[in-house]
């Protein structure tokens, strides 16, 4: 029973970060109908930015979150306006291949700068943990969960309360109608893509504290982000949160009872089982 609750807690802690991994991915997918295969690489960039700041300036990784956010936000904005904007309305084949190419390109930039070695950010408090009734809660992971939830909440508030946020939601419902009411769609898309990249950067910062990472960690995070979206639905903060927690728990129990070496196979199995029964996802909506 002790073990069960320990796994449950670990699952929830993992789920928080997965929710943040998925949130940006979900926004771009839900609002622009683009699957950004470079999202995993954006996350890794965030992790490496944090790593570099930590190594060079001994900056606390949690303080790096805003910096990673801003750096990736800028990269996302430029990418959208210079590349993605030209294929926004193109068929899936096109956007898919384009973002795939982009992810290869960025992954190799990371390789050139930071090499393929596995890295991690180890702070003075990395080993600290709370002990609640025999259940161990690593401090860093708890903090990560709290920050991930806070970022999700802020995003939600921003989408709901600001003028730009409302323009974004209007665009996601009906591009044509939004355009007619004076929304500058190209600008909205650029902001959405930038926000998505920024959130990926923040997620990367948080990941760098809890996990060891290398450039090739990008694809597993991308796939997990996708699974979370399929579980929780697209384009909403709540969906990403629910999906993230559910998948975090599933993954933790699977690695406990099946074996950690099978993580990718378990992810595939979960994905296939869901999609076979609901080919467009659990909260799925028809996409053209």
């Amino acid at each position: 029973m002790q073990l069960f609750f320990q796994d449950l807690v670990n699952g929830i802690l993992t789920g928080g970060i997965l929710a943040l991994v998925a949130l940006g991915f979900s926004l771009v997918w839900g609002i622009m109908n683009i699957i950004n295969l470079a999202h995993g690489t954006f996350i890794m960039l965030g992790a490496y930015v944090t790593y570099q700041l930590f190594v060079s300036f001994h900056l606390d990784p949690f303080l790096c979150i805003p910096i990673a956010f801003v750096v990736l936000f800028a990269l996302g904005y430029v990418t959208q306006l210079s590349i993605i904007n030209y294929v926004v309305r193109a068929p899936v084949l096109t956007t898919f291949l384009l973002t795939f190419g982009l992810s290869l390109l960025l992954e190799n930039v990371i390789l050139l700068i930071w090499t393929g070695d596995t890295r991690s950010v180890t702070t003075g408090y990395s080993g600290a943990h709370l002990d609640v009734g025999g259940i161990t809660i690593p401090l860093v992971k708890l903090l990560t969960l709290v920050i991930a939830l806070a970022i999700g909440g802020l995003t939600q508030l921003w989408l709901a309360r600001t003028k730009l946020g409302r323009a974004i939601r209007a665009t996601s419902m009906d591009v044509g109608a939004a355009q007619l009411t004076g929304v500058r769609v190209a600008h909205v898309y650029a902001i959405v893509f930038a926000l998505s990249a920024g959130l990926a950067g923040a997620a990367g910062s948080l990941i760098s504290v809890s996990y060891a990472f290398s450039p090739s960690s990008a694809t597993p995070f991308l796939i997990k982000g996708f699974i979370v979206c399929v579980l929780g639905g697209l384009g909403s903060v709540q969906g990403a949160l629910v999906g993230g927690l559910v998948y975090g728990i599933v993954e933790t129990f699977a690695s406990q009872y099946i074996g950690a070496g099978y993580a990718d196979a378990v992810a595939l199995a979960v994905l296939l089982v869901i999609l076979v029964f609901r080919p467009t996802g659990i909260m799925g909506r028809a996409t053209a």
Partner: protein, 324 residues
């Protein structure tokens, strides 16, 4: 232009190029043999991707599993004493096709984004699984003995000819598909699956057939690779390059054409070879850039560029087409 095979002149050139490739071993250079065997290998894999991604419009990011399965099928046979290279190719093709059918029935129901991500995770999961199974040598891999043919030992250069056969079969198979009802069914599915269904085309059936053919092409290449490389492990079999190169080659040459993949294999191998010699670390970066540029400016590949007279205005036009 009639037909879904693409430019006839280009097909003729591709066929002649294949014939010319038969004479490469006369140079008696191990380097040249290896280089051109690479073109043939990626050519066959690119043809495999082209059947499902190009003709059927289902963008697979997991076709490397067929190469991996073919490679492991041949290596396993070899550990059981069967080293006949012809038999290995056939067995690898059958294994890959079976896998494509079993996996395709659930996965090919998925469309667009869902199919792409599912195939991407298949590639990861396959590597995962094989790395954990001792019978496949786990992460240590397998080293088969040298190839034989009809019970007799054969020189190493036979791996070149074997790869040639696999690539020639892939080219010929693609041409046959493009001339058949099957080919039109696949293209109809690509263009509009719902409209294809009301014309009496069973989408699931044809998609599974397409993926099985796709699998056979990749599987055959994998079997020969094992003998050429005399070693296979999960990291080699499921390498990212083996997943990416065939896609980029088909894209560059022209998706959904008969000549495109071979043309793409030639050009990309040439560029890659140059890059390797001068800048060994950035070749994948370069491939990423090629994908971005080709998707933006040359969505129909180089073959279309050669065919179109007013080419440049055409590409500017294309750039404008999907913008907001």
């Amino acid at each position: 232009m009639i037909g879904i095979a693409g430019n006839r002149v280009a097909i003729l050139v591709a066929a002649l190029a294949m014939l010319a490739l038969l004479f490469v071993p006369l140079a008696k250079s191990d380097y040249t043999n290896a280089l051109f065997r690479g073109i043939l290998m990626y050519g066959a894999m690119s043809y495999g991707w082209n059947v499902i991604g190009g003709y059927t419009g289902y963008v697979s990011f997991g076709n490397v599993v067929f190469f991996g399965i073919g490679a492991y099928a041949a290596a396993l046979l070899a550990t059981h004493g069967i080293t006949d290279i012809g038999l290995s190719i056939v067995a690898a093709m059958v294994a890959a096709a079976l896998f494509a059918v079993v996996l395709g029935i659930p996965v090919l129901r998925l469309q667009g984004h869902y199919f792409g991500i599912a195939t991407l995770s298949i590639a990861l999961a396959a590597q995962d699984l094989i790395s954990n199974i001792d019978a496949f040598g786990a992460t240590n891999g397998l080293s088969p003995k040298a190839a034989t043919l009809f019970g007799a030992a054969v020189p190493y250069v036979v791996t070149y000819y074997a790869m040639w056969v696999v690539c020639a079969l892939a080219l010929a198979g693609t041409y046959a598909v493009s001339r058949s009802r099957l080919g039109y069914a696949l293209v109809a599915i690509r263009e509009n699956e719902g409209a294809a269904a009301v014309l009496g085309i069973n989408p699931t059936k044809y998609k599974v057939i397409a993926w099985a053919i796709s699998g056979m092409m990749g599987g055959g290449a994998g079997a020969v690779f094992v003998y050429a490389n005399s070693y296979i492990d999960p990291a080699t079999a499921f390498a990212v390059d083996n997943n990416v190169f065939p896609i980029v080659m088909a894209l560059l040459g022209g998706v959904g054409t008969v000549a495109g993949p071979l043309l793409g294999a030639f050009i990309l191998t040439a560029i890659n070879e140059t890059l390797w010699n001068h800048f060994p670390f950035i070749h994948t970066l370069f491939f990423g850039a090629v994908i971005v540029i080709v998707v933006l400016f040359l969505p129909r590949g180089l073959l279309a560029l050669i065919a179109a007279r007013r080419s440049w205005s055409l590409y500017v036009q294309h750039l404008r087409a999907y913008r907001v």
